[in-house]
């Protein structure tokens, strides 16, 4: 199962990747939407954990672009904002939103729920 974490806060996303790795979940990281698309062109990801507000491509736009190539990719949005502006032409009824700072156990539980525990490996 392939996971990509996308956030322009490099230290945050690198630390999150390390903590997931310690729990048996390997994840690639990208520091922008553009970098995520480059990586997604080479690797078929099953799940993307996306920051909502990033310079350039936002989390919502990135999800749309990722799903154009990989319609079955699942997305979890992470946001530092107090509220989420869901206006726009996208349907967010099935989207999952988590607030920063993240609780690692909640994130892992959400990953398992989203892509199924049988697809993730525990240490």
């Amino acid at each position: 199962m392939k996971i990509i974490l996308v956030d322009d806060e490099k230290k945050f996303i690198n630390m999150l990747a390390k903590r997931l790795a310690l729990r048996g979940l390997q994840a690639d990281v990208a520091y922008s939407g553009e970098q995520a698309l480059e990586k997604a062109a080479k690797t078929h990801y099953d799940l993307a954990v996306l920051d909502l507000k990033m310079p350039g491509i936002s989390g919502f736009v990135l999800k749309k672009k990722l799903q154009e190539s990989w319609p079955r990719i699942k997305c979890i949005f992470v946001t530092g904002h107090g509220s989420i502006d869901k206006n726009g032409d996208q349907d967010h009824s099935e989207d999952i939103f988590l607030a920063k700072p993240l609780d690692i156990d909640t994130l892992i539980e959400t990953i398992h729920r989203t892509i199924g525990p049988e697809n993730t490996r525990r240490p």
């Binding site: 230290k11 310079p55 530092g80």
Partner: protein, 226 residues
């Protein structure tokens, strides 16, 4: 009908405060998120160590450095928030152009669409007698409009000088020519009028001429009471 200066401060000022507060709180959340993850990682390392795994000191050092850096980033953000909050202390006062520009660049820097912006270090600071809050608001909104319009990879340069004894001249420039649409908008125009500022644009510059002594603002902002 043109809004009064007090209307401008009340209506646009509240929006401005809200916008800046939202971006500052977002920045602080990002800082706390990094500190939280780093503390969590330290806890992970502690648990592994208890299970007999060798602890790499370099990891601990990296974590403590990272936390210290983020705390400094947090203090810097709070300093900007404090400086911004005090911009409403005096309706009109002697206001440093350099300080106003630096704060506006830092506050807009929290926005996801902000571009790299360089303020000319060599420019000699100039003081103008004006509303610090409205001037901050005008420059902030101008920067937001520029960030949204200039090419993604472009950077902004800002310089300023004394044009004559009555006017200070601010120049914003960028490289890739830009087709302007709807700038300045009504709100920016009203604010510029209140500040006795004139804005002129070309495809790669925006010039702002600001009155050095805006004697009518005091009365307009205090209803004539001094």
């Amino acid at each position: 009908m043109k809004p009064t200066t007090i209307d401008l401060v009340n209506r646009q000022g509240l929006q401005f405060f809200g916008s800046v507060n939202a971006s500052i709180s977002h920045e602080l959340k990002n800082i706390f998120a990094i500190i939280s993850e780093t503390a969590g990682f330290l806890n992970d390392l502690t648990q592994l160590s208890k299970q007999g795994k060798k602890l790499e000191l370099s990891l601990l050092e990296n974590c403590s450095n990272s936390i210290a850096e983020e705390i400094e980033r947090g203090f810097d953000t709070i300093r900007q928030m404090n400086q911004f909050a005090h911009s409403v202390d005096d309706p009109v006062k002697a206001t440093s152009i350099a300080d106003t520009l630096v704060l506006a660049v830092k506050l807009t820097g929290f926005l996801s669409y902000a571009k790299k912006t360089h303020i000319d270090d060599a420019a000699k600071d100039i003081t103008v007698l004006t509303s610090p809050f409205l001037l901050q608001n005008l420059i902030y909104r101008t920067l937001c409009a520029l960030y949204k319009s200039v090419d993604t990879k472009d950077a902004l340069k800002i310089t300023f000088h004394e044009k004559n004894t009555d006017t200070v001249f601010l120049k914003f420039s960028w490289n890739t020519p830009l087709a302007w649409k709807d700038f300045p908008d009504r709100e920016i125009s009203d604010m510029a009028d209140a500040l006795k500022a004139e804005i002129s644009i070309t495809d790669n510059t925006l010039d702002m001429a600001v009155a050095r002594d805006n004697d009518t603002l005091s009365a307009a902002l205090t209803g004539g009471k001094q």
